[in-house]
C-alpha cells in the first residue's frame, strides 16, 4: 500500500506523484497492462490527486461523480466505444474546468474505441487544453493506433507481487489459506482478487471448470465432443477463462513432475492431491505437450478460429486416464 491507496504499482505511483510535485505531469497518458490489474484504479487515483482538494471533492472522484472528471468506457463490457461518446468527451475537453484547475478524462479500455473515434481523439491527445489531463487504458499497445501510442506518456503496469496481493487480502480480513489461494490464482491481478473475495461465484466457477476437466480426463470421445460443443457456445470470455484455469492447473502438474517440487510453489494449492496423482500418471513430455496445446488453442481463439473446431482438437489431445 502506498500514499495513493493503491496495492502494488508503487513505482508508477511514485513516478506520477513526482511529476505532479514538479509540475511536469504529461497531459496524455496511456496505462497498459492485463485486465483487472488496476489501470483504472490508478487512473482514478491520479484524478483524486489532481482534483481532490477536500473531502467532498475526493468522495465525488471516488464515486466518479466529480464534474471535472470525465469517465468514458464502453456502455456494455467488451462492446465498442462509440464515436459519439468520444465526440461528447472532446467537446467537454474544450471547456474550462468547472470546480478545480484541471479536467481529467479517463478513457477505460481505449482499445475498444472505433477507428474513427481513435482518429478523432488524436488532435486532442497531441495538444490538449492546458487544464486537461487524459488517461487511456488498454491491455497493450498493439491494440491501439501507433499514432495514439506515440502521443501518450506510456506507463506499463505489471502484475503486483503475489505476496502483496495476499497481504492486501489478509488486511481485508480474508482467512489465511483462502487469501493465499486467491492471491496465487490472481497472478497479481489485484482487481480479480478483490472481485473473488466479494463474490463467491468467481471461485465457484473455477472449481466447476476444474471438475469438468477431471471428468473429461476419464471421459470418452462422445462426451468430450459434447463438452466442446457446449463450451463453444458460451461467451468468449468464459471459454478463455476456462482454458486459462486449465493452463494454471497443468503448470502445477508440470512443477509437480519436477524433482524439486515444493507444495508452496503450487498455484492451485487446494488441488494438491489431484495434482500429485496427475504428475504420477503422466510423463513430463505428455504434460509439456498439453501445456503447448492449451496455449496454442488460446492463441487460435484470439485470432478468431472457429471455437468449436479448436476445442474439439484440444479435447482430443487430453490424455485418457482410467476411471478411479
Amino acid at each position: 500500500m502506498n500514499d495513493w491507496d493503491i496495492i502494488g504499482h508503487d513505482w508508477a505511483v511514485r513516478r506520477l506523484r513526482r511529476a505532479i510535485e514538479q509540475g511536469q505531469l504529461a497531459q496524455s497518458h496511456l496505462f497498459v497492462g492485463p485486465p483487472s490489474i488496476g489501470k483504472a484504479t490508478l487512473a482514478l487515483a491520479l484524478a483524486r490527486a489532481l482534483l481532490g482538494h477536500n473531502d467532498r471533492a475526493r468522495a465525488l472522484v471516488n464515486q466518479r461523480r466529480h464534474p471535472d472528471l470525465l469517465w468514458v468506457e464502453p456502455a456494455d463490457a467488451g462492446e465498442a466505444l462509440k464515436v459519439e461518446q468520444i465526440r461528447e468527451l472532446l467537446h467537454a475537453l474544450t471547456l474550462a474546468p468547472v470546480e478545480s484547475r484541471h479536467r481529467i478524462a479517463i478513457v477505460n479500455d481505449a482499445h475498444l474505441i472505433t477507428e474513427s473515434g481513435q482518429n478523432a481523439i488524436l488532435k486532442t491527445l497531441e495538444e490538449p487544453n492546458p487544464s486537461v489531463v487524459i488517461v487511456l487504458t488498454a491491455p497493450n499497445t498493439d491494440t491501439l493506433l501507433p499514432t495514439i501510442v506515440s502521443r501518450c506518456q506510456l506507463l506499463n503496469l505489471r502484475p503486483a507481487p503475489v505476496r502483496a496481493v495476499e497481504e492486501a487480502l489478509l488486511a481485508r480480513g480474508v482467512a489465511g489459506e483462502r487469501a493465499a489461494l486467491i492471491a496465487r490464482l490472481s497472478r497479481g491481478r489485484i482487481g480479480w482478487a478483490l472481485r473473488a473475495i466479494e463474490d463467491d461465484a468467481t471461485l465457484e466457477a473455477r472449481a466447476e471448470r476444474l471438475r469438468d476437466l477431471r471428468d473429461l480426463l476419464t471421459a470418452g470421445r462422445t462426451q468430450r465432443f459434447a463438452y466442446a460443443e457446449k463450451l463453444a457456445r458460451a461467451e468468449p470470455s468464459h471459454v478463455v477463462q476456462t482454458l486459462e484455469d486449465w493452463l494454471l492447473l497443468w503448470r502445477d502438474v508440470a512443477r509437480a513432475t519436477g524433482r524439486e517440487a515444493s507444495p508452496e510453489a503450487l498455484v492451485n494449492a487446494d488441488q494438491r492431491d489431484w495434482i500429485a496423482q496427475l504428475a504420477n500418471a503422466l510423463s513430463v513430455a505428455q504434460v509439456a505437450a498439453l501445456l503447448r496445446a492449451i496455449s496454442q488453442t488460446l492463441q487460435y481463439l484470439d485470432r478468431n478460429v472457429n471455437p468449436r473446431l479448436a476445442l474439439d482438437v484440444l479435447l482430443l489431445k487430453l490424455p485418457r486416464l482410467p476411471a478411479s
Binding site: L60, P67, L70, L90, A92, T94, L95, A96, V98, S131
Partner: protein
C-alpha cells in the same frame, strides 16, 4: 430545510433555470436535478449542465436552512400543477426526501445530496464590467447567429468577447461569415480581458434578461474558467471555451470597389422570396448590382433558380457607387445578416465575385458583417 414560498414564484424560477438542466442521458445523474437551497432568507434555485449554469432567487419564508437536489422533471411538472397558492417545502435529511405540500397536495420527492451538485460560482466580488441590458441584448442578436453550431470546430462555437477601456466587442464566425459588434460599457474596465463564451450560453443570457432595466454586471471568475452575467435575481454562468479564437482582422477587406445602399426591409423581402426557389440549389442566389445612369436609379436584383422548382427574381432600387458586379451568396446567410441590421438602410460593400462582401448598418458604425460569396455555376 424548511420554507414556504408562492407557487407562481417557484414556477417562474423553475422555468428560468430549466434550460440549464442536462438531458436525461447525462453521465452525472445530479445534472438532471435542480438545486434548491436557502440563501439569505430567499430560496435559490439552480441548474447546470457543466456548460451553462443558471441560478435564480425567489422570495421565501425560511424557517430552517438547508439544501437538496431534486429531479428537475418531476419537481417542475409537479409545481406546474399546484394551485396558485403557498407551497411548503420540507427536507427529510435522513432520507434526502423533499416533502412538497400545497392545498390538498402532499408529495414526497427523492433527491440527491446537495453536496454532489457542482459548485456554480455566484456573484460576489466587484464586477469586471457593467453594461446596459438593451445594449447587451442587441449585441447578442447581432453576433451570436454567426457562430458555428457544428461541434467539429469547437473554437467557432464560441463568441469572442473583448473588454477594453469602456468598449465591449463581440465577434463570431462559422468560417463562412463573421459578425462583429462593439458598444459602450457603463464604465471602463480596469484591465483588458478577452474571453471565448459558448454561443449557446449567450442565447440564454438574452432570453433570461427579459425586460430588465438595471445594468447587467459581467464577472470573470478568478480561475478564468467562467463568465458570470449577474441580472436581477438571476445569475447565468457560462463555462469558457479554453481555446484560441482565430485572428479575424486579416480577412477584413481594406477597400471596396462597389458600395451599394439598399432599403433593409426591401432587401430582406427580396432574399426571403428568393430563398423559396433556392431551396433545391444549395440556397445559392445571384445578386446583380447595377449602378444608376443619368435618368435611371441604380438597382439590385436577387435571382434564384432551381431546375425542379422554377425561378424568381426581385428587383429593388439602390444607390450604387462603383462598378457593376454579379456575385453569388448563400441566401440563408443574407437573410440572417439583413435581419441583424436594425437601421432602415444597409450598405453592401463588394470587390470581386470571389472576395468576401461586407454588410453594414447605415448610420451604425459599431456593427460589421462579412459574408463569403458562393461560386456561381456558369449560365
Amino acid at each position: 430545510m424548511r420554507l414556504s414560498c408562492l407557487q407562481e414564484n417557484l414556477a417562474r424560477g423553475l422555468s428560468i433555470v430549466s434550460r440549464a438542466v442536462a438531458p436525461r442521458t447525462a453521465t452525472l445523474p445530479v445534472l438532471t436535478h435542480i438545486l434548491l437551497a436557502t440563501d439569505h432568507g430567499r430560496l435559490k434555485i439552480a441548474a447546470t449542465n457543466l456548460e451553462l449554469g443558471i441560478s435564480c432567487w425567489v422570495g421565501a419564508k425560511v424557517e430552517d436552512e438547508g439544501a437538496i437536489t431534486v429531479p428537475a422533471r418531476t419537481f417542475t411538472d409537479l409545481v406546474a400543477l399546484l394551485p396558485a397558492d403557498r407551497v411548503d417545502l420540507e427536507l427529510n435529511i435522513r432520507t434526502q426526501t423533499l416533502r412538497v405540500r400545497s392545498g390538498r397536495t402532499d408529495a414526497n420527492i427523492k433527491g440527491i445530496d446537495a453536496q454532489e451538485f457542482p459548485i456554480i460560482p455566484t456573484f460576489q466580488d466587484a464586477a469586471t464590467a457593467r453594461i446596459d441590458p438593451t445594449v447587451l441584448k442587441k449585441m447578442i442578436t447581432q453576433v451570436v447567429f454567426a457562430a458555428a453550431t457544428d461541434e467539429s470546430r469547437p473554437t467557432l462555437t464560441g463568441v469572442l468577447t473583448k473588454l477594453e477601456g469602456d468598449t465591449i466587442t463581440m465577434a463570431a464566425t462559422d468560417g463562412f461569415r463573421l459578425s462583429v459588434r462593439s458598444d459602450r460599457l457603463k464604465e471602463p474596465v480596469s484591465e483588458p480581458r478577452t474571453i471565448l463564451i459558448p454561443a449557446k450560453a449567450l442565447v440564454e443570457v438574452g432570453r433570461v434578461m427579459g425586460d430588465q432595466e438595471e445594468p447587467v454586471a459581467i464577472g470573470i471568475t478568478p480561475s478564468h474558467g467562467q463568465v458570470l452575467f449577474h441580472m436581477k435575481d438571476v445569475d447565468v454562468v457560462a463555462q469558457l471555451i479554453d481555446q484560441k479564437f482565430p485572428d479575424y482582422e486579416p480577412i477584413i477587406p481594406k477597400r471596396h470597389d462597389t458600395r451599394t445602399i439598399v432599403n433593409t426591409a426591401e432587401m430582406l423581402k427580396a432574399c426571403r422570396q428568393a430563398s423559396i426557389f433556392a431551396r433545391d440549389s444549395l440556397d445559392t442566389v445571384r445578386v446583380l448590382v447595377k449602378p444608376g445612369e443619368e435618368l435611371e436609379p441604380g438597382k439590385v436584383t436577387v435571382v434564384a433558380r432551381a431546375d425542379e422548382t422554377g425561378d424568381n427574381q426581385s428587383e429593388l432600387e439602390a444607390t450604387v457607387v462603383g462598378n457593376e458586379i454579379e456575385i453569388g451568396f448563400n441566401v440563408k446567410y443574407l437573410i440572417e445578416a439583413f435581419s441583424a441590421v436594425d437601421t432602415p438602410q444597409a450598405a453592401i460593400e463588394t470587390t470581386q465575385p470571389r472576395s468576401p462582401a461586407v454588410i453594414r448598418a447605415l448610420g451604425d458604425d459599431h456593427f460589421f458583417h462579412l459574408v463569403m460569396p458562393m461560386h456561381l455555376p456558369k449560365g
